[in-house]
């Protein structure tokens, strides 16, 4: 087996002044050590990784008691975020993006702020002064805040056009200088529906990028970096000033959708390492890499839940042992599933040696197996 490229390069770099035979000896020694450090055959690496990651997690819970009142430690970045990642949640608590600009705009403060201004989503509610509701005629009179519109480079006409395109259950019957009146498209629209639609209109996307709630421009290592709350990778990458190779979002599902599963895996690794680092925990990166691999190896990002990874398990018994056993047993019975008894869970259940470690091997000396069998 050959050494990895990175180690070889480092070796080359460090041994360039040595004579050839010494070089060879060092190479042999490094290779020996490298092979010794590899996981043994039958080593349950997954279990060891799980333990290595969850043990610090329990420490995080225990430690939070002692950190009460300490502002430096943001708990939302700690264990809850870890659980979000491992569960593969679609709705995460704090979405954010880190946006870097192309080389030519890096130092340009004005461009940075201009881009930042372009990012924040504008909803209808942001430009409206008042919404008057007429229950009898089922009409809404939307009065605009003209100053706000001017600040945002919008006008009543523009907003009206957008509304025309987007409104489905209502139509515009009147448009004034600073107001428009909407009426229910169908006469039989119920009161409840009417109110729900009104609330929906309030948060209608009018301009800029959808999903981005707040923007912050920061000077970092001599360049302007834009941080956002909320995430919309696809739209942000379209902005010409943005360096699309360096846009980072912590919404793993979105990254998987826009950039592919490999990028999602990279985000998982970065996010977990970030959590561990902030908590001051020292976990080997390979455990994190393994977790990221497991979460993404089906080509999509699946969490460790009964709908996610657990549902992909081959063994019906193992699935039943996790959650909702009855459901899994019924499905297995209907499909006539076959359990190969290949993982630890089923073998512990039936009191058989698990097929890892010392239980992996079946070498056994029997003088005459057939004879033995007959005696049995």
């Amino acid at each position: 087996m050959d050494l990895p490229k990175k180690i070889l390069e480092e070796l080359e770099e460090k041994t360039k002044d040595f004579p050839e035979d010494v070089k060879q000896k060092i190479y042999e020694e490094v290779k020996k050590r490298y092979e010794k450090a590899l996981a043994d055959v039958g080593e349950p690496v997954g279990l060891v990784s799980t333990q290595s990651l969850t043990e610090p997690a329990t420490q995080m819970i225990l430690r939070s008691f002692h950190f009460i009142g300490m502002s430096e430690l943001q708990l939302s970045l700690g264990l809850p975020r870890f659980i979000e990642i491992a569960d593969g949640r679609k709705k995460i608590k704090e979405k954010y993006m880190v946006i870097r600009l192309k080389d030519e705009y890096k130092q340009n403060k004005e461009v940075a702020y201009q881009v930042a201004r372009k990012l924040k989503e504008i909803k209808l509610f942001d430009v409206v002064k008042e919404i008057q509701t007429d229950i009898i005629n089922k009409t809404l009179k939307i009065i605009f805040n003209l100053e706000e519109l001017r600040d945002l480079d919008l006008s009543v006409e523009k907003v009206t056009d957008i509304l025309k395109k987007k409104l489905k259950k209502m139509k515009i019957i009147e448009a004034g200088e600073d107001y428009i009146t909407l009426k229910a498209a169908r006469e039989d629209m119920s009161m409840k529906e009417f109110y729900q639609y009104k609330e929906k209109i309030k948060s209608l996307h009018i301009a800029e990028i959808k999903g981005i709630r707040d923007v912050l421009v920061k000077m970092e290592n001599g360049e302007f970096v834009i941080y956002t709350y909320g995430s919309n990778l696809k739209e942000v990458m379209k902005i010409p000033e943005v360096d699309y190779t360096k846009v980072y979002s912590n919404d793993i599902h979105e990254v998987a959708k826009v950039l592919g599963i490999e990028a999602a895996r990279e985000v998982i690794v970065r996010e977990i390492l970030n959590i561990l680092e902030k908590q001051g925990l020292d976990v080997d990166v390979r455990h994190v890499l393994l977790l990221a691999d497991v979460l993404t190896w089906y080509g999509e990002y699946l969490g460790v839940t009964r709908y996610g990874l657990q549902a992909e398990k081959g063994s019906a018994l193992a699935r039943a042992a996790f959650e909702t056993p009855i459901k899994h047993l019924i499905v297995a019975a209907m499909l006539g599933e076959n359990d190969d008894m290949k993982t630890a869970i089923e073998n512990v259940m039936t009191n058989q040696p698990i097929p890892y470690g010392t239980g992996l091997f079946k070498v056994f000396y029997v003088e005459d197996p057939k004879k033995e069998k007959q005696e049995r």
Binding site: P44, V48, L329, M349, T350, N351, P353, I354, G357, L360
Partner: protein
């Protein structure tokens, strides 16, 4: 607009001038025309007058304030001190009145006489009324965090004491009686009220220091010599009860020494303490499993088991035994009759409990901990004057818990012990720290309560001065002797054949899911299998159809009940729980099939 009037939430009428109306009622109540338990309120928001007379409201007394002056004057207080006036006289005069939560809505209460203004309507009798009975027993509680005060209050309920003076005639369960209960040196106003009923602990000399790390996690270190002199000694009582039951059909239990041929006979040794009437004699020393009362019951289901069929009526031994892992001396035996007229025997076991490792102790500030180590007096640090402390308390327990009251109590206790007096630790009104320090100085000690102490291991002086004083410690009811439990083999549950759970059922200690993963993580596959083999069984599996085969004990044959196969049947060792699981699936209409192969082939 007239306001509505409600009595006990039932509408009775209208009143034009509600404020005057309410004032009139109050005035009449103070004069004694209306009983004092009636309360009235005017709700301005809803414009209603509510009068309450029903049961179940909590009332509290307050001093009435009129025109910015409390009605209770110095004269009254002097008369009260002399015994000329009583509380009820003050009530009658309208100086003190009882208010319920509803009427409290309309009042404005001053805390102290200095605070009273013209706007106030009432004054608190004392700020101390915010404390309950138990909380008021905590000295210097105004220096403690409220959460700790709560805990300290609760620990007092768990202390070993003399809970009732007739305890020897009672059969209460889980009771401990302290040998030498003492009154606290540092006390509050409540202790004056309770007189001698508040002896729930002992005053010990405590040094706030660690020794050799045995005080880890709040543990305390005790002096062996102190324990041998009787410190915190107590006696534990465990009552037992058995009844001679009557069954339908004229059958009934028999209290006697069982014959050796009854079912579940425990062996002659277990019955050695029984008198001829089948009841244990007083002062017998019992071990766990010994029989207290011998009882023989008729068979519950006649003719079901083959054994009873063969030998006729075999009776069951249902004797009362001492709980496993407990011991004690029979303290009292009472033979009486139950409500249904059955013979009832009550026995109380007594067990001396000397403090040992793991017993729980606490102070009144919520600083609880178990004994981490019992040191010989030669291994305990001593002061320059030769005092060896009874208890070493870890100083690491203080900063994060913020129980400053603990420190003040040690300081106060030291002065109390030296000057031979009680220290008043009543919150807000007790002796203050400054006076205490000065008094300690006058007594010839360092004012901060620290003393020079010597290291018992080397004989050298400690480089720091150690805070040492007297403290009121409580021994709590949680004792290591009650928690001790171990099992090798024992009872199993009927359904799964797995070991039972819990100390009372002589259960096993669970080797859980996480422990399982530890073994799996090390790859110790066979050790893991062995650890989980508590319910191992051998099942027969039909190789042809994969179903479970049946072993016929009488004909000594094995066959498959589904396909009738008798030859190709494998013996498989698996957990009983798995076998049960397969059978439960079968009962649901799912037919699980097992594919077997020879263990050493692939």
């Amino acid at each position: 607009m007239p306001s509505e009037v409600y009595i006990d939430n039932i509408f009775v009428g209208y009143v034009d001038n509600p404020k005057q109306f309410v004032a009139k009622i109050k005035e009449d109540r103070r004069k004694g025309k209306i009983p004092s338990f009636i309360n009235v309120m005017y709700d301005e928001d809803t414009n209603t007058v509510k009068i309450f007379t029903h049961k179940g409201r909590i009332q509290r007394p307050l001093i009435v304030v009129k025109n910015g002056k409390p009605l209770l004057t110095e004269k009254h207080i002097e008369k009260l001190k002399k015994g000329e006036t009583k509380w009820s006289d003050l009530e009658k005069k309208g100086i003190i009145e009882w208010l319920d939560p509803a009427e409290e809505e309309n009042i404005y209460v001053a805390l102290t006489p200095e605070e009273v203004t013209k706007e106030h309507t009432h004054m608190e009798i004392s700020p101390l009324v915010i404390f309950g009975i138990l909380t008021s027993l905590v000295p210097f509680s105004n220096h403690n965090q409220s959460a700790r005060l709560n805990r300290g209050m609760r620990t007092q309920k768990q202390a070993h004491a003399v809970y009732a003076l007739n305890f020897w005639t009672r059969f209460d369960s889980d009771i401990s009686i302290a040998y030498y209960p003492q009154e606290p040196i540092v006390r509050t106003f409540s202790h004056e009220i309770f007189k001698h009923e508040d002896a729930i602990g002992q005053n010990v000399i405590v040094a706030v220091m660690t020794q050799e790390g045995y005080s880890m996690e709040d543990a305390i270190i005790l002096n062996r010599a102190s324990i041998e002199r009787g410190l915190f000694r107590s006696v534990y009582f465990r009552p037992y009860e058995i009844e001679e039951l009557k069954y339908p059909g004229g059958l009934q239990d028999e209290i006697k020494i069982p014959d050796p041929d009854v079912v579940h006979y425990k062996g002659k040794y277990r019955y050695r303490h029984l008198d001829d009437d089948g009841i244990v004699y007083p002062e017998a020393e019992m071990e766990g499993g010994d029989v207290l009362v011998g009882r023989v019951s008729p068979p519950r289901f006649i003719g079901i088991t083959s054994e009873t069929f063969a030998t006729g009526l075999i009776k069951k031994d249902t004797s009362l035994t001492v709980r496993s892992e407990e011991k004690g001396i029979v303290d009292a035996v009472v033979v009486t009759e139950s409500g249904e007229g059955n013979k009832l025997i009550k026995i109380r076991l007594r067990d001396l409990r000397i403090p040992e490792l793991g017993d729980k102790f606490s102070v009144r500030h919520g600083q609880k901990g178990v004994i981490g180590m019992i040191l010989d007096p030669s291994d305990m640090p001593w002061t320059a004057s030769g005092v060896v402390p009874d208890v070493l308390f870890s100083p690491f327990g203080i900063p994060s818990r913020k129980t400053v009251g603990y420190i003040l109590e040690v300081l106060g206790g030291k002065i109390g012990a030296l000057a031979g007096r009680y220290i008043d630790g009543t919150p807000w009104y007790g002796e203050n720290e400054f006076d205490l320090r000065n008094e300690l100085l006058r007594l010839g000690f360092r004012e901060d309560g620290t003393e020079t102490m010597y290291n018992p291991l080397t004989g050298e002086e400690f480089k720091v001065k150690i805070f040492i004083g007297s403290m009121y410690y409580l021994r709590l009811k949680y004792m290591a002797a009650n928690k001790l439990h171990a099992r090798a083999r024992g009872p199993v549950t009927l359904l799964t054949k797995q070991p039972t759970e819990g100390k009372a059922r002589e259960g096993g200690l669970r080797y859980g899911e996480m422990e399982n993963q530890v073994l799996a993580g090390h790859g110790a596959s066979l050790l893991l299998r062995e650890t989980f083999s508590s319910d191992d069984t051998i099942v027969y599996v039909c190789d042809r159809c994969g179903g479970l085969a049946v072993e016929d004990d009488i004909r000594n044959s094995v066959y498959c009940p589904v396909c009738g196969e008798t030859e190709r049947i494998s013996k498989v060792k698996t957990s009983y729980a798995f076998k049960l699981f397969l059978q439960e699936l079968i009962s649901l209409g799912v037919w699980p099939k097992l594919k077997t192969k020879f263990k050493f082939e692939d």
